[in-house]
């Protein structure tokens, strides 16, 4: 982060990696990246960070008993209460 552009462009990196950065700004960023090794490292490691979360964020299995306890509580506090009133 030596150049004055670095900090200024930091906030655009996330959009850039999502392919959502507008034309002019995208070109400016790519020009800067081609000549700034530090920013290149930041972009690469930011990209790797996002990719790691995308690839390792697997679906969590709901632990045993959670489903049963959820329905028991709904029965107690919603349905039975309603039917008692009715």
């Amino acid at each position: 982060m030596e150049h004055k552009d670095c900090k200024h462009l930091l906030g655009s990196l996330s959009d850039y990696l999502d392919g959502e950065l507008e034309g002019d700004l995208c070109a400016e960023l790519e020009r800067h990246l081609s000549e700034c090794d530090n920013c290149r490292i930041v972009v690469d490691s930011l990209n790797k960070t996002i990719t790691l979360y995308h690839t390792t964020a697997q679906h969590v299995d709901v632990p045993e008993g959670v489903h049963q306890r959820l329905f028991r509580r709904l029965d107690l506090e919603c349905f039975e209460k309603e039917s008692n009133i009715g």
Partner: protein, 202 residues
């Protein structure tokens, strides 16, 4: 919302009338999705279960007021994220004296660490230990950044959908997502950068 897995074919009239079977069908369709969301937010199975129950209790009580402007899944996500955020705020208030964590959500980003750790072997990047660190790093984000990151990068919602759930503009979602991702990059750089150093010394 969730890759078309759950087709929304529910009778709103039956749901609003308190039909148990129809509500049970709604719960069956979405409880895994909601559990995953709140587990990622809270990183604790017991807390996640409590918030899952609160979400469906609250949803049942508020069905009469559901106007159908958003989809049922967006509406459930909204209730679940509100419950999880309130839970985190309560816990934060209880521990604020010992947890003086820096608020970076609106302030300047932390200084950047420039370490190229992308070259680490894949097995190091996806090891069980690394995975635990990734999960913990998410819990170090402030709640408002965490919820955006979890919805967008872990649950896979679009920017527009995250905005609908949290009642934020797309620009606000992108700004928070950017801050969350940069903060996680710093966190992972500290962790993987350390591994890089160990490898070189070894």
């Amino acid at each position: 919302m969730d890759s078309g897995k759950a087709v929304e074919e529910f009778s709103l009239d039956e749901l609003r009338a308190g039909n148990r079977d129809e509500y049970a069908r709604l719960v069956e369709t979405y409880y895994e999705m909601i559990y995953n969301l709140v587990f990622r937010m809270l990183n604790d199975p017991q807390d996640a279960e409590d918030i899952l129950q609160e979400t469906f209790l609250k949803a049942y009580r508020h069905l009469k007021g559901f106007d159908g402007r958003s989809s049922l899944s967006t509406w459930l996500y909204r209730i679940a994220t509100n419950e999880a955020l309130m839970f985190l705020r309560r816990r934060r208030m209880e521990t604020v004296s010992i947890d003086e964590s820096k608020e970076t959500e609106t302030g300047e980003q932390e200084p950047l660490q420039i370490i190229d750790w992308c070259c680490l072997p894949e097995e190091e990047l996806v090891s069980a230990e690394a995975q635990a660190h990734l999960d913990e790093a998410v819990t170090r984000l402030s709640p408002n950044l965490r919820v955006v990151f979890v919805l967008r990068d872990i649950q896979g919602l679009s920017t527009r959908e995250v905005g609908e759930v949290l009642n934020l503009t797309e620009t606000a979602v992108k700004t928070r997502l950017s801050r969350a991702r940069l903060q996680l990059r710093e966190d992972l750089t500290g962790y993987f950068g350390g591994r890089l150093g160990e490898g070189r010394r070894g």
